[in-house]
Amino acid sequence: MSDEPKVSGRYRELPREEPPRALDDAILAASRRAVDARPAPLVVPTGRQRWYFPVAAAAIIVLAVAVTVHVEREQPGEEIVTQVEPAKEVLRTEPARQYQYTPDPKPAPPAGTRDLQEQRPSAAAEAPRAPAPAAAPPSAPPQRALGSAQDSAGADRREKTDALAKRADEANAQLRQAEGARARSEVMARAAAPASRFARAAPEQWLLAIDDLKRQGQHEEAARELAEFRRRYPDYKIPESMLIRVEPR
């Protein structure tokens, strides 16, 4: 391998030490575990505390599920009432408007009744929240002439009421989904947060931040950050001038 074959040959005569079998097994097991637990974590504890990470991950998952279930059960009560209120308003006013129906070919009523009829819409408008009257039975003698028209109006009313109720249900469901998704994303964002506050910064900026910490006398914090940095960027060459500034003394 070397330019000098004698030297290379003599070097090759040295015993060919190999790592112990237990070490091989430990490393290969770690590589398989890492693949099973994808994606790769940003920062992984080292040494004897390696088991912390799986335990912490399991705890976060349990917490996330618990919070999501809790949010989905608790939230709809209050917030949805305010959201759905307009839909209820429509539901209440709609029947009142329906009852303004008047059959068309009818002899012109006396002046007094015409006044009354003209006043009806405004009365209905003044009391939009009055409870909807029950649908008149089709066999009611005074309203026999209106029977078929009222039937069709009742059917329309029911359809519209059903449609509005359906829309309100859909709005409720969407609101619940949105709330659940928001809660889940918040939990996931918290879980994915890096161990170091500088971990998302560029390596150079991170080193400068460590330097700042040291200048502020926060040596332990600086040492911790440097260790994190080393784990995150194992092949990064810290310039000598910077190494002097960031390394613990």
């Binding site: 000098e4 030297v7 060919r16 790592p19 112990p20 590589s31 890492a34 194992p234 092949d235």
Partner: protein, 168 residues
């Protein structure tokens, strides 16, 4: 490494088998202490596993691997205040058959090993990267964070000193 990055555990095993012996000897002969060498050897591979998500093939995998090893060695020496620990007697060479030849071979290799240990760290590292890792001068420069001239010079000095021992 890219296959392992995409979840192929078998690819890591192949990589590991290819490099385990050479990397282990590189670390062992750099540290002269088996327990520390095993710890550091394991740490190198753990860093490889942890960094798989960020691995980008900018250079040969071998160069990347030995760069990690170099960085960890530098950390190790800094923690130790740059003191080197002597190689234990029981880690010295064992040689075959004939007692006379065995003694002679042992003596020759012991001298060579002593000369290797006596090399300045940077020269020994350059030599070991060349012999064990199969790294070229340019790759040694990349792995150790130096320029090619310096890497070439270190390797040349190391070989010259070892050659003097071999020629004795």
């Amino acid at each position: 490494m890219l296959a392992y990055q995409h979840g192929d555990a078998g690819a890591f095993e192949t990589l590991y088998k290819r490099h385990r012996g050479a990397l282990y000897r590189f670390v062992l002969r750099s540290l002269h202490q088996r327990s520390a060498a095993e710890e550091l050897f394991q740490e190198v591979w753990m860093r490889v596993i942890e960094a798989r998500g960020r691995y980008a093939p900018q250079a040969r995998f071998t160069t990347w691997l030995y760069t990690i090893a170099h960085n960890l060695l530098v950390d190790h020496w800094r923690k130790k205040g740059l003191t080197l620990v002597e190689l234990n007697e029981d880690e010295m060479v064992a040689a075959p058959d004939n007692p006379a030849r065995q003694a002679e071979a042992r003596e020759t290799l012991a001298r060579f090993l002593q000369a290797l240990e006596a090399l300045p760290h940077a020269q020994r590292e350059a030599f070991l990267l060349h012999e064990e890792g199969g790294l070229s001068v340019a790759e040694i420069a990349a792995a150790t964070g130096t320029n090619e001239e310096a890497a070439k010079s270190r390797l040349r000095y190391a070989v010259a000193k070892l050659k003097a021992v071999v020629d004795e």
